[in-house]
């Protein structure tokens, strides 16, 4: 049981516990905070997988932007009695059953794969991967097309979100 395994187990336990709290917290603000903890746990797991770049991008994008966005929308969509009622839909038992079934199926099929128990050893060098990723994202034989499409998607999302969230009443009164 070396250090990396201990770190992974701690991070995994914290992430799973926080995820359970996200889906079962009564007050939305607490759920958002538990989500932040989950995302940070996942960032630690990225570090154990030797992709420190993605760990930092996870904190920058998910915690620094998406979690703040979720907190903002929780604050903007409050109802007076909302935090005290029942936060679960009536059909939650069926949903739990579906979740357990999906888990069993996923793990079952993965266990049948012959590489399931391979040990992940340390990769030779970390910064080379970043360089190769950068080159692959802009090379015509690589991933330049998804890269450009991703930027178009972001622009579309930007314009779409701004258009949807603009207050219509303000425009009507003008």
């Amino acid at each position: 049981m070396n250090g990396l395994q201990v770190v992974f187990l701690l991070a995994a336990l914290v992430s799973l516990f926080s995820a359970v709290m996200v889906v079962s917290a009564r007050r939305m603000m607490h759920a958002a905070l538990w989500l932040v903890l989950t995302l940070m746990g996942v960032a630690v797991i990225f570090v154990t997988l030797q992709s420190s770049f993605f760990a930092v991008v996870q904190i920058l994008v998910y915690v620094g932007a998406i979690a703040i966005l979720i907190i903002f929308s929780v604050m903007l969509t409050r109802r007076v009695m909302e935090d005290h009622g029942d936060q679960i839909l009536p059909g939650w038992r069926a949903a739990a059953l579906v979740a357990v079934l999906v888990f069993a199926v996923l793990v079952g099929f993965l266990a049948l794969w012959q590489g399931f128990t391979t040990l992940l050893v340390e990769l030779p060098s970390d910064s080379d991967n970043l360089l190769e990723l950068g080159k692959a994202l802009v090379s015509p034989q690589g991933y330049v097309l998804p890269f450009e499409l991703a930027s178009v998607l972001l622009v579309a999302a930007l314009i779409g979100a701004t258009t949807i969230a603009v207050d219509r009443k303000e425009e009507q009164s003008r």
Partner: protein, 106 residues
């Protein structure tokens, strides 16, 4: 020195918790949080498999990393638009609870 099985089981568990959250919660923002959990689980899975294939091939192998980048971008875009929709629906109907947004019903 960690068996890849641990990562795969962890990501399956996170995915199923997110699935439960997306299926069984009343508040629209809580459903989006469940979706975010699912996307994170997918990312963990992708990077675990990237590590597996990178240690099999000797030269740097970045297909998993490129896929993960795309998932990050798509998740960010989807959360932005989804939350804009939720806020806009809240302004019309004054409720973020999804089973009260029934204007199109039968």
């Amino acid at each position: 020195m960690i068996p890849i099985a641990w990562y795969l089981i962890f990501s399956a568990a996170l995915f199923c918790i997110g699935l439960f959250g997306a299926l069984a919660r009343k508040n629209a923002v809580a459903i989006l949080m469940g979706i975010e959990l699912m996307l994170n689980a997918v990312n963990v899975n992708l990077i675990a498999f990237w590590h597996y294939y990178a240690q099999i091939h000797s030269r740097p192998y970045v297909h998993g990393l490129a896929f993960t980048t795309m998932v990050f971008v798509v998740a960010a875009a989807e959360v932005a638009v989804g939350l804009a929709l939720v806020i806009s629906a809240y302004r019309r109907r004054q409720t973020p609870v999804v089973d009260e947004l029934t204007l199109l019903k039968g």
